[in-house]
C-alpha cells in the first residue's frame, strides 16, 4: 500500500475529504463500474446463474467490491426500475474500525477512505459485526476485502476506476464537500450520507426517501457495538485498575488478617 495511515478514528476534517456522488437516476445499469473495479483490482469473474433478474452476481463477494443493485418498485402508475451502486460507503464514523482488534488492519487515509491492510487482518470477522451496511467480505485466505475507493489511485491524483469509466456520470468523483454542493445545485434537497455517521464518503443523490432505494434512512453504528465501545471497553481497564487499586489500598490501610498464633507455621 502506498497510502499513509492518517487516523484510526472518526473523520473530523471534512475539508480534505474525497468521495463519490452516486445518482441512481443517471445510471443505465451498464455495469461498466463493476467491471472496471474488477479490472483494476485483478478480481476474478464469478460463475453466475439466471435468478430472474439482470442483477448479477446476487451479492457482494470477496471478488466483487462494487455491484449495481437492480430494484423494481411496483405499485405506482409506472414501474420504477432503479440501479444503485452498492459498496463500502466509507463512513466518517466507521463501525468496522471501532471494533477491529488489529491496529492498522482498517485505517483511514488522508482522503477519508476506510482502507485496509490485508497483512494486518487476523480474519476475526468483527468488522462484519460492526458494519451498518453489511459490506465486508472475506477471501479464501480469510482476509477482509471491500471497496477501498481505489486507495492505490486516489492519493496519486487519479480518480477511482468506477467513476473513471462511468459514461453517464451516475458515479462522480470529487471533493466531498463540493459533491454535496453539486447535488444540491442539481435539485436534490437531501443528500444521503451528508449527515449520518460523520458523513459517508459515498454520497447518494436520491429523489425519493432512502427506503425507496432500499437504504436505511437513519444508518448508525449497531447499538451493541456503540454500547461496547462507550461503556464496556472503557470500563474493562477501569474495573481492573480499580480492583487492583482497592486491594492495594486495603493492604496498606486496614491490612492483612494476621493469625498471631498460627502464622509462623503457615508461612
Amino acid at each position: 500500500m502506498t497510502t499513509q495511515v492518517y487516523a484510526q478514528g472518526r473523520t473530523r476534517n471534512q475539508a480534505g475529504r474525497k468521495g463519490l456522488l452516486v445518482t441512481p437516476e443517471r445510471c443505465t445499469a451498464c455495469r461498466g463500474c463493476q467491471t472496471a473495479c474488477k479490472e483494476w483490482n485483478h478480481l476474478l469473474a464469478e460463475k453466475t446463474v439466471n435468478w430472474g433478474t439482470y442483477e448479477n452476481p446476487p451479492d457482494l463477494t470477496s471478488n466483487l467490491y462494487n455491484k449495481i443493485r437492480f430494484v423494481e418498485v411496483t405499485g405506482n402508475k409506472d414501474i420504477d426500475w432503479l440501479f444503485i451502486s452498492r459498496r463500502c460507503v466509507h463512513c466518517g464514523d466507521a463501525g468496522c474500525m471501532e471494533i477491529c482488534p488489529s491496529p492498522g488492519a482498517l485505517y483511514r487515509t488522508r482522503e477519508g477512505i476506510v482502507a485496509y491492510d490485508r497483512d494486518k487482518c487476523i480474519g476475526c470477522k468483527l468488522c462484519q459485526a460492526g458494519c451498518p451496511f453489511d459490506i465486508p467480505r472475506y477471501d479464501a485466505d480469510d482476509r477482509v476485502t471491500k471497496c477501498h475507493l481505489c486507495d492505490d489511485r486516489v492519493p496519486h491524483g487519479l480518480e477511482p476506476a468506477c467513476s473513471k469509466v462511468c459514461p453517464t456520470d451516475a458515479i462522480r468523483y470529487g471533493d466531498w464537500q463540493s459533491l454535496i454542493a453539486q447535488a444540491k445545485e442539481e435539485g436534490y434537497q437531501t443528500v444521503y450520507g451528508e449527515k449520518d455517521l460523520a458523513g459517508l464518503g459515498i454520497l447518494y443523490a436520491f429523489k425519493e426517501k432512502p427506503e425507496y432505494y432500499g437504504f436505511d434512512s437513519t444508518p448508525g453504528i449497531p447499538a451493541s457495538v456503540a454500547f461496547w465501545k462507550g461503556v464496556l471497553k472503557p470500563l474493562s481497564l477501569l474495573g481492573l485498575g480499580a480492583s487492583v487499586g482497592a486491594a492495594l489500598v486495603h493492604y496498606v490501610t486496614i491490612g492483612p488478617k494476621e493469625d498471631e498464633e498460627s502464622e509462623g507455621g503457615a508461612a
Binding site: 484510526q8 471494533i99 482488534p101 488489529s102 491496529p103 494486518k120 487476523i122 480474519g123 476475526c124 470477522k125 468483527l126 462484519q128 459485526a129 453489511d134 449497531p222 451493541s224 457495538v225 454500547f227 461496547w228 464496556l232 471497553k233 470500563l235 474493562s236 481497564l237 474495573g239 481492573l240 480499580a242 480492583s243 487492583v244 482497592a246 486491594a247 486495603h250 493492604y251 486496614i254 492483612p256 488478617k257 494476621e258 493469625d259 498464633e261 498460627s262 502464622e263 507455621g265 503457615a266 508461612a267
Partner: protein, 200 residues
Amino acid sequence: MMKMVQKATPWERFNHWVLLLSFFVLTLTGLGFLYNSLSWINTAFGGVHLARGIHNWAGIIFAASLVLTMANYLGESLKFGSDDFAWLGQLGGYLSGREAPPQGKLNAGQKLFYLLVLVAGLVICASGLILWMGAAQGTMQLVHLLHNLAFLILVIVVPFHVYAATALNPGTFRIMTRGTVPLKWAKKHHPKWVKELGLE
C-alpha cells in the same frame, strides 16, 4: 512437628495452575486486542496473528480446566447457609477486623467468587468459541458483547481472589503450592470443615 491437613489434592493444585496461567495469557492478549494503546502486548506475544492463535487455544485450555474445577468446588460453593450470609453481611470481617462467622471448607466469599467465575467463565468460553467459528451478524454482535461483559466481571473479581489468597491471608498460598495447611490454621479459617473431618 506441626499437624497438617490436606486442603487441595495434587490434581486440584495442578488444574488450578493451568486455569491461572491460561487466564493470565488470555487476559494479556485480550487487553492487547481490546485497546489499541496496549497492542504492544500482542507484539510481545509474537505479533497479532500469533496472538490470536494463542488467545483462541489458551481459551480451549481455560475452558477445559474450568469445567474440571466443577468437580472440586461446585458442590461446596452451592451450600449456602446462614453462616455464609452472615459472613457476606460483614464482608468476612476484612473491613471491620471482627471475627467472621465459622466457615466450611470454602468461606462464603470463596463460594460466591467461584460461582461468579464459573458463570462468567462459561459465558466467555462459549462466546469466544462462537466468535472464533463465526456466525450471523446479530449473533456476532451479541456474543462480542457477552465476551466483553464476562471479561469485565472477571477482571474485577480475580484481583480480589489473588489478594485474598496471598497478602491478605498469610499462609493461604501454601494451598496452591503444597496443598496442606496447619491444623491450627484450618481451625481458625475453616472450623466447620475441620469438624466435618472429625479432627477437632
